[in-house]
C-alpha cells in the first residue's frame, strides 16, 4: 500500500505447531529473532516434528504450500493470494488464518484503504488550494474505487500495481500528501 493502513496481529493456537520448510532468508531471520515456540524452521520435510503443519516454500508437498512467484498460498485444495512490500504482513496472514477469515479481512483492509485514499484525496485538494498541488486527486479517487470494490484476494495484484504507481508519484512530490 502507498500509505499505512493498519497493524496486523496474528494469533496462533498453542496446540498447533508449524514447520516452515526452506523458507526465504528474511522470514527465517525474522522467526529466529522472534523465537515463537510453535514455529520450527527446517531445510527438509524430514526435519519437521510429527503432527506439525508443514509450510513449504519451494515445493507443493506440504499441508500449506507457498508460491513466492505467484504470491499465493495453497492449503486444503484452495488458493489465496497476498501482496507485500518488505514486510510479510499478508503472507503470514495467508499462512496462519482460516481461508474465509483471510478473505474477509482482506476485504476489510481494502475498505479501510479505500476510505484512507479518499481522505488523502480530500487532503490533496485542500492543500492544492493553499498552493501545494500534487495532482494525485484522480489517482487517489480511482484507487479508492478499486480498493473499495475488491471481492477476493486474487485482485490484490492489480491493487499492488496501482499502489506502487501512487507511491512513486507521491514520493517525487516536494509537498507530499502521505
Amino acid at each position: 500500500m502507498p500509505f499505512k493502513v493498519a497493524d496486523v496481529i496474528y494469533l496462533i493456537s498453542k496446540e498447533e505447531t508449524y514447520c516452515f520448510v526452506n523458507s526465504p532468508s528474511d522470514i527465517e531471520n525474522e522467526l529466529r529473532k522472534l523465537r515463537p515456540e510453535n514455529i520450527n524452521i527446517s531445510t527438509d520435510l524430514k526435519g519437521c516434528k510429527k503432527g506439525s503443519i508443514r509450510v513449504c516454500f519451494d515445493s507443493s508437498l506440504c499441508e500449506i504450500n507457498v508460491n513466492l512467484e505467484a504470491k499465493s498460498v495453497k492449503k486444503y485444495g484452495k488458493r489465496i493470494y497476498y501482496e507485500d512490500d518488505k514486510e510479510n504482513a499478508l503472507l503470514y496472514g495467508a499462512i496462519f488464518a482460516d481461508m474465509d477469515i483471510y478473505e474477509c479481512q482482506i476485504i476489510r483492509l481494502m475498505k479501510r484503504t479505500s476510505e484512507l485514499a479518499s481522505l488523502y484525496g480530500a487532503k490533496s485538494i485542500s492543500l492544492g488550494s493553499r498552493g501545494c498541488n500534487s495532482n494525485l486527486e484522480q489517482d487517489l479517487a480511482y484507487y479508492s474505487n478499486v480498493t473499495g470494490t475488491l471481492n477476493r484476494s486474487n485482485e490484490l495484484s492489480n491493487i499492488k500495481i496501482l499502489s506502487d504507481e501512487i507511491w512513486r508519484k507521491n514520493d517525487a512530490l516536494s509537498c507530499k500528501i502521505f
Partner: protein, 174 residues
C-alpha cells in the same frame, strides 16, 4: 456482717461497671481505628482506580493519534497528528460510527484565534470537533499531541507542529 456483705456487693458492682466501661471504651477505640483505616484504604483504592482509568483513557487517545486516519505519515514523528488530514476527516460521515465515542475533539493549545476549524478559517482556529453524538457526553479525557500541518513560506514548504490536546469521551471511556 450484713453491712460488710452489702459493701462487698457494691464494690464488686462498681468494678464490674468499670470493667464494662473500659471494655466499651476499648471497643469504641478499635472501631474508630478500624473506620479510619477503612476510609484511608477506600480513598487510596479510589485514587488508584481513577489513576488507572485515566492512564487507560490516555493510552486510548494516544492510540487514536497513532491510527492511520490521524497520524502524520510524511515525517517519522511519534504522536504527531496530521491536522490537514483530520480536518478532512471531519467531513466524512462514515467515520462518525467508526470510533466508539460520543465526543472526539482536538484543541490547539495557545491558538491565536478562537472558533471551530473549517476549510475557510483553517489553520487560524482553535478547535476541531470530529464527533459529538450528544450534548451530555460527560467529562472528556484529554491527552497531549503534536498537531502538524503543511505550511508555506513563499516557495518554501515545511511541516509546522503545534501543541494540541485530543479530547475523547464515550461509554468505552469510563
Amino acid at each position: 456482717m450484713l453491712y460488710h456483705v452489702k459493701s462487698f456487693n457494691k464494690n464488686g458492682q462498681l468494678k464490674i461497671q468499670e470493667m464494662a466501661f473500659v471494655l466499651v471504651a476499648i471497643l469504641v477505640f478499635f472501631a474508630i481505628v478500624a473506620l479510619f483505616y477503612i476510609s484511608v484504604r477506600v480513598q487510596n483504592l479510589k485514587g488508584s482506580v481513577e489513576a488507572q482509568r485515566d492512564d487507560e483513557a490516555k493510552t486510548m487517545v494516544r492510540k487514536l493519534a497513532e491510527s492511520p486516519e490521524f497520524s502524520l505519515s510524511v515525517e517519522n514523528c511519534i504522536n504527531c497528528v496530521d491536522f490537514d488530514k483530520v480536518l478532512m476527516l471531519k467531513e466524512k460521515a462514515e467515520y462518525q460510527s467508526f470510533y466508539p465515542l460520543d465526543y472526539l475533539a482536538i484543541k490547539v493549545i495557545g491558538a491565536l484565534k478562537e472558533g471551530e476549524c473549517t476549510r475557510s478559517n483553517y489553520p487560524e482556529c482553535e478547535s476541531l470537533t470530529l464527533i459529538k453524538k450528544k450534548e451530555d457526553f460527560g467529562t472528556p479525557i484529554g491527552a497531549f499531541a503534536a498537531l502538524c500541518r503543511q505550511e508555506f513560506f513563499g516557495q518554501d514548504r515545511y511541516i509546522k507542529c503545534e501543541l494540541g490536546k485530543i479530547y475523547a469521551s464515550g461509554e468505552n471511556i469510563k
